[in-house]
């Protein structure tokens, strides 16, 4: 019987009931299961009786009789049995038991004792259950608090996974009040951590290295959360050589296999890790595992998109070996311009795909026209002119590219309205179309064609400046000229010819 719970029971009330039932002040005692008096400890021989009851150690409910001396007899019975054995005992001292002039009617007394025992044990159980539930509820609040906090982190987070992880670990370190929280994924060589140090850790790098190796292997093979509080825990032999930190390590599974873990570290002076800490770490592990799975999915989806796009480009460029690398270069230059213009992330994403896929429509141009080294006839030129519209027709089925397609569709429009396919003019030409037009012009001049070798960077810039305001958007040309003037890295990358100064 826990004293805490017992103290909340008002036993004086039971004493009064008993007094009324027997018509006198009764010598009423309650003992815990070890025989220590909890009520009536001032009654003569109460302590001696408690010891005798505990020593008898009977399992039967009672009532039992115990003669203390010639005049005094105690009747006692159990308060009930729990998983932990006897709850305790209830006893009444009777003078001159069994004599004709005994002041108490024994039958009535034992019946009353029975009722009192039932009353006290019920009350005890209700109180005890309530306390357990309250404690459990407190722990659930704790978990919920953590889950909500994690959820708040995810909301409105579009930035990179690493940053979400990092901020999540930081808030976890603070919330759990631990020195170090780490997410370790050795197969991918990932080890992210956050600290909320109660005291400096001088060799943190070394500690992290040990975590990736021995500790991870230990967690992987045990497959369950491990808590090492004691410095002399024998399991430490498998893990840390001479580090005295308290460790809580929790495996994270992906497709049934432990591929990462959460580790909490505390300095030895901090309180031991508890079951509450274990549960919280497991909640955190689940959350991080979901996040990591989502991230991997996104990553593989991204790779799939990229590969699909590259296949499309491959199909176009296979038709004309001279245009090999053209899409990639125009894409690179367009992104440089887009970033220099300070386009927001979602627009850059559209520009990314629009510039990469702008020539996909060339797939519909007959090879004889596309690769013809001599001048095109007007009929042949018509084929060329439909390619941006073709690009649009091919790509419009892809919902994700809805906006990106505009850049591809209008990259052959001219600023003065003389371009194709729609003859749009000035600002009516979608911005991405105008950007791609500048990079496309630059690359057509500087790259080699079936009928001529690539010309120099200087020639291209001169030509771009010349057509600025007629063919090309002067604002974008200005941005591009600024980029070009800074001896950009792409001159090397694309091996662009230079004119000797």
């Amino acid at each position: 019987m826990s004293d805490n719970t017992f103290q909340e029971i008002d036993i004086s009330r039971y004493q009064r009931w008993l007094n009324r039932a027997v018509g006198a002040e009764a010598a009423f005692m309650v003992f815990d299961k070890a025989g220590i008096p909890l009520w009536g400890k001032d009654i003569p021989q109460a302590i001696k009786l408690g010891l005798a009851i505990a020593a008898a150690g009977t399992d039967a409910a009672g009532p039992h009789r115990h003669d203390l001396d010639a005049n005094k007899t105690a009747l006692y019975q159990t308060l009930g049995i729990t998983n932990d054995g006897q709850l305790g005992w209830l006893a009444v001292m009777v003078d001159h038991f069994g004599e004709q002039d005994a002041p108490v009617h024994i039958d009535q007394l034992t019946e009353t004792m029975d009722d009192l025992a039932a009353g006290i044990s019920d009350e005890y159980r209700y109180k005890h259950d309530l306390e357990m539930m309250t404690e459990e509820l407190g722990e659930r609040y704790e978990e919920l608090h953590l889950v909500y906090a994690v959820d708040q982190h995810f909301q409105g987070q579009t930035e990179q996974n690493d940053k979400v992880f990092q901020s999540l670990l930081e808030s976890a370190a603070e919330h759990l009040n631990v020195d170090v929280v780490a997410f370790v994924k050795p197969p991918k060589d990932i080890c992210l951590y956050a600290t909320s140090l109660s005291k400096e850790i001088a060799n943190l790098d070394l500690v992290l290295v040990e975590m990736r190796g021995d500790l991870f292997r230990f967690i992987q093979s045990s497959g369950e959360t491990v808590i090492l509080n004691a410095v002399d825990d024998p399991r430490r032999a498998y893990i840390f050589t001479d580090m005295s930190y308290k460790v809580l390590a929790c495996p994270i599974r992906s497709e049934g296999k432990v591929d990462s873990m959460i580790v909490l570290l505390n300095h030895a002076h901090k309180p031991d890790f508890t079951n509450g800490d274990r549960k919280l770490a497991e909640v955190l592990a689940t959350q991080l595992s979901n996040l990591s799975t989502t991230y991997l999915l996104l990553q593989s989806m991204g790779e799939f998109n990229q590969q699909l796009a590259m296949s499309l480009i491959e199909a176009v460029e296979a038709k004309d070996p001279y245009t090999r690398g053209h899409s990639e270069r125009v894409h690179f230059l367009s992104m440089e311009i887009g970033r220099a213009m300070g386009l927001p992330a979602d627009e850059l994403d559209d520009l990314y795909w629009g510039s990469l896929l702008h020539d996909v429509g060339k797939i519909g141009i007959p090879d004889a026209v596309l690769c013809k080294p001599s001048r095109l006839t007007p009929d042949e030129y018509t084929f060329i002119k439909v390619h941006p519209e073709r690009s649009y027709e091919i790509l419009r089925h892809i919902k994700h590219l809805e906006k990106a397609v505009l850049g591809a569709r209008h990259h052959q429009e001219m600023y003065d309205g003389t371009g194709y396919p729609h003859g749009l003019k000035g600002e009516r030409i979608p911005l991405h179309g105008r950007i791609i037009a500048v990079s496309d012009t630059y690359d057509s001049i500087t790259s080699s064609r079936a009928y001529r070798a690539g010309r120099s960077h200087e020639t291209a810039m001169k030509e771009i400046e010349r057509v600025s305001g007629t063919q090309l958007d002067p604002g974008i040309v200005e941005v591009f000229m600024k980029l070009a003037a800074a001896e950009p890295e792409w001159l090397q990358r694309f091996n662009i010819r230079r004119e000797k100064a």
């Binding site: 309530l130 306390e131 309250t134 404690e135 509820l137 407190g138 722990e139 659930r140 609040y141 704790e142 919920l144 608090h145 953590l146 909500y148 906090a149 708040q152 919330h175 759990l176 009040n177 309180p271 508890t274 509450g276």
Partner: protein, 131 residues
Amino acid sequence: MKRILIVDDEPHITRVLKLYLERAGYAVDTAQNGQMALAEILKNEPDALMTDIQMPLMTGRQLCLALEEQLPQRTFPIFVMTSMTDREHREWTQKINNLEFLEKPLSMRAMTRALDKHFGSAKTDGGASHV
């Protein structure tokens, strides 16, 4: 021993707070609404007040404003328990000094840490034991 007054109309919340605060070495009194709390405070000021907002008869907000008016020299801190998602509705607290938020669902650790931090070494009990 520092005495904390908890004001909440939901018994499951007050029970949990009481249990964990007592374990952390605090004495705890409870009130079921702002009215009861105000009467209790005017009679006997606690060392800290923790109050919910939504309550019948007198809300936590009304209680805080009444305390500002009736106890302008108040020194004990007020901890307002509010939902994490309800960040927008906090402006009214700006002109009330010595007031902090505890976010619901409440973390027992965060709560005892906030109180321990407030009382510093003044607390009689040794370190807070969390369970």
